[in-house]
């Protein structure tokens, strides 16, 4: 079972439906116990960083998410669910993220229309392998277009740490990271058409292959 963490922050059904579409036994979960038995954990997120961080904490599921990641269970963070992996966000200085990846979340270039609410082409970071994007080191695949809705994005320390893809929106923007069992995207794979479904299907296969604890 793939647990889509439902912590009361709006419509998460599209993530669940997309995972089911590509063969995943996905389920919205509101109980930390269900995260403990999951073969994979998906953390979506919409809206503001502070609201999501507080809702995750208040839901009592933050600890379960953290221990699943620590235990090596396949994990996928989407949009604000990606940003929550970092130490904090300039969007809300009063609450910390999970701090599993180093760096903070910062506002996009304000000379651009914000939010970035559009499709954008991903650029592979050279020299990196990516299971999520099926990229081998040195490959430079074109045509990976994904749908973004965000005004902030992570700035990893050191820069581009674990980053496998970026996009250009008033400068380079981190679009996807991958580190061991952690996959996470600033874009919405569940809204990125056939490309997004392909990304999610790779995650589902990984969950089936590795499984939970």
């Amino acid at each position: 079972m793939i647990a889509v963490v439902d912590y009361g922050i709006g419509n998460l059904r599209s993530a669940e439906k997309a995972l089911i579409k590509v063969g995943g036994d996905a389920r919205l979960v509101t109980d930390p116990g269900e995260i403990e038995i999951a073969d994979g954990v998906v953390l979506p997120g919409v809206g503001a960083f502070g609201g999501c961080a507080r809702a995750l904490r208040d839901s009592g599921m933050e600890g379960a998410v953290r221990s699943a990641i620590d235990a090596g269970v396949p994990f996928f963070g989407i949009c604000v669910g990606f940003q929550l992996l970092y130490e904090g966000s300039d969007e809300d200085d009063n609450i910390n993220g999970l701090g599993l990846l180093s760096g903070r979340v910062a506002k996009l270039d304000e000379s651009m229309k914000l939010p970035q609410m559009q499709w954008n082409e991903l650029m592979a970071v050279s020299g990196r392998n990516s299971e999520m994007l099926d990229l081998q080191s040195g490959s430079d695949r074109k045509g990976m277009w994904a749908y973004f809705v965000h005004s902030y994005a992570p700035v990893p320390v050191p820069y581009l740490d674990n980053v496998v893809a970026t996009c250009d929106y008033g400068g380079m923007v981190v679009a996807a990271v991958e580190r061991d069992n952690i996959w996470a995207t600033q874009f919405h794979p569940e809204k990125s058409g056939a490309f997004g479904l392909t990304v999610l299907s790779r995650f589902v296969k990984k969950c089936h292959r590795i499984g939970g604890r």
């Binding site: 419509n11 919409v46 809206g47 559009q118 749908y147 056939a194």
Partner: protein, 259 residues
């Protein structure tokens, strides 16, 4: 970099897709689910459903259409028409819409925009503006007036003042329809679109009047639109989404390629 979205629009009346000229003389164009899946497969970047049903059981029908479409669609979906309350917005998002478009109810009670934005986030609030030129149809002197109730009611409100206000209230996107051009295939009202894109910080979808490939290009190049919406030309297969994107690309406009 900025990319321009191609957005087929489905006007839904009692569960069927309809399209008229200047908001009247509606013709049946098919089943909304079938059309949605066709447009997704053909490379649409996003879809808009507008509920134009006049009857009182409209909400239940539309929520059902949205739920059935969203089960199979994996691209963004905006739904508008008859959204009067925060609960209406929530019901549509729960059914699978990514954004809701408000129009008539926001004129009557502008706080509706901030209520939805505060509760659900600005990114899911689209304000739809139906604009009609004042004075001579070909002169900009009189500006544009906001209309509501599917184009039947004049409000006396100036379009440019209204768009400034709705952005302050938290609108995350504007869907601007020229009532003078809707369904005419005479091209977008480029002055209208250009005036608005140059004054608001949020994305603007241009709507009303597109009939040729060049009209699409003008909407992006002269109008500065972030999204280009069309109905008739796609419903009737007069233009394909792929041909539009190839043409825009050839004109130097960044679009997500088909396939």
């Amino acid at each position: 970099m900025k990319s321009v979205r191609i957005i087929p629009c489905l006007d839904v009346d009692a569960g069927r897709v309809k399209k008229g000229v200047r908001f009247v003389d509606l013709v049946d164009e098919g089943d909304p689910i079938e059309l949605s899946l066709r447009y997704d497969a053909e490379g649409a970047d996003e879809l808009v459903f507008l509920d134009i049903t006049a009857s009182s059981d409209r909400r239940a029908t539309m929520v059902d259409v949205v739920a059935r479409a969203a089960d199979q669609l994996f691209i963004p979906l905006t739904v508008g028409g008859g959204v009067r309350t925060l609960d209406d917005a929530k019901a549509l998002l729960r059914a699978g819409a990514d954004k809701v478009a408000v129009n008539t109810a926001a004129i009557a009670r502008p706080q509706l925009i901030s209520e939805i934005a505060d509760q659900l986030g600005s990114q899911c609030v689209v304000v739809a503006v139906d604009a009609k030129r004042q004075g001579s149809v070909n002169s900009q002197d009189g500006g544009w007036e906001v209309y509501t109730h599917g184009g039947r009611t004049a409000t006396g409100i100036d379009v440019l003042q209204w768009v400034d206000r709705v952005v302050q209230l938290g609108a995350g996107e504007l869907l601007v329809t020229s009532m003078d051009r809707d369904g005419t295939k005479d091209g977008f009202d480029l002055e209208l679109i250009g005036e608005i894109t140059s004054r608001v910080p949020v994305p603007v979808i241009a709507s009303g009047g597109v009939g040729t490939l060049e009209h699409f290009a003008e909407g992006a190049l002269k109008g500065g639109a972030d999204g280009l919406l069309a109905a008739s030309v796609f419903h009737r297969r007069e233009l394909s989404i792929e041909s539009v994107k190839e043409y825009l690309s050839s004109r130097g406009i960044n679009v997500r390629p088909v396939g």
